[in-house]
C-alpha cells in the first residue's frame, strides 16, 4: 500500500482478515494494487502471524507485508 501506517474506521461487515483485504482492495487504486497478488501478501494481527480467517477486534494492529527474506 506504500504506507507504514494508517488508521481506518471499518464497516461492521468487516470481521475477519479476509473481509478487511476485500474492503481495502476496494478503497482505491493504491490499495487495489497492493492486494493484486493476494497469495503473496502475509498478515499479522497484533504482531502475531494471522491468516484469512483470523477474527478482528476494535483496536487491533494489522500488518500486511510480503513474504519474509531474513536470515
Amino acid at each position: 500500500m506504500g504506507v507504514a501506517e494508517e488508521t481506518l474506521t471499518l464497516p461492521g461487515t468487516v470481521t475477519t482478515v479476509a473481509d478487511l483485504v476485500a474492503h481495502l482492495a476496494g478503497l482505491d487504486q493504491r490499495h487495489a494494487a497492493a492486494f493484486k497478488d493476494r497469495e503473496t501478501v502475509r498478515c499479522a494481527v497484533n504482531q502475531e502471524f494471522a491468516d484469512a480467517m483470523t477474527v478482528l477486534r476494535p483496536g487491533d494492529e494489522i500488518a500486511f507485508f510480503p513474504p519474509v527474506t531474513g536470515g
Binding site: Q47, E48, F49, F65, T69, G70, G71
Partner: protein, 156 residues
C-alpha cells in the same frame, strides 16, 4: 531461556560462545550458524556485483516472532543454551547478518536445533532484504521456494 538480540552492530562469535558456556561443564556440544552477506555474481542479477544489503524489520513483532521460534526449538530439543542475534540496517558483502548458537549435552540436538532455527528464522521472522547495486539501483529480495521447502522439513 534464549538470548535474543536484534541490533545494527556486528556480533563477536567468540564472546557469544563464551557467554553461553561460561562456568558450565554440562555442555557436550555447540551448534553454530553464521549468515554472511554474499556477493553472488552467478545469481539471476546477471553478473552484477552487490554493493550493500539493507535488512528491514517490523520492530514491534520481531522479538516476539524470534521468541516463538526459539521457544519451539527448546520444546523440541533438550538445549542447555541458545543465542539468536539478527542484524538490521545496511551491511556490506562479507559482513555477518545472523548468528544462531545452540548448546546441548550431545551433538545431535545442537546440530538439529541450529538447522531448525535458521530454517524457521528465514521463513517466520519479519525481516526483509533490500539489495543495492553499484549503479544505485536497489531491489527487494524475493522469497525463495527453497527456503520454504527447508522450513517445511520441520513439521509444524
Amino acid at each position: 531461556m534464549a538470548r535474543i538480540s536484534v541490533q545494527t552492530e556486528d556480533f563477536d562469535v567468540g564472546a557469544e560462545i563464551a557467554r553461553l558456556t561460561l562456568g558450565r561443564t554440562d555442555i557436550g556440544g555447540l551448534g553454530c550458524f553464521i549468515g554472511i552477506v554474499r556477493d553472488d555474481k552467478s545469481q539471476e542479477m546477471s553478473g552484477r556485483s552487490l554493493g550493500a544489503l539493507t535488512l528491514e524489520h517490523y520492530p514491534a513483532m520481531t522479538l516476539r516472532a524470534i521468541g516463538r521460534i526459539t521457544g519451539e526449538a527448546e520444546t523440541r530439543w533438550s538445549l542447555l543454551g541458545c543465542t539468536v542475534i539478527h542484524r538490521v540496517g545496511r551491511m556490506l558483502p562479507g559482513e555477518n547478518i545472523v548468528l544462531v548458537l545452540t548448546a546441548a549435552s550431545h551433538r545431535q540436538a545442537a546440530l538439529d536445533a541450529t538447522a531448525f532455527l535458521i530454517d524457521w528464522l528465514k521463513t517466520k521472522a519479519p525481516f526483509w532484504k533490500r539489495e543495492e547495486f553499484p549503479n544505485g539501483e536497489a531491489v527487494w529480495v524475493e522469497a525463495r521456494e527453497a527456503d520454504d521447502t527447508a522450513a517445511a522439513r520441520w513439521r509444524e
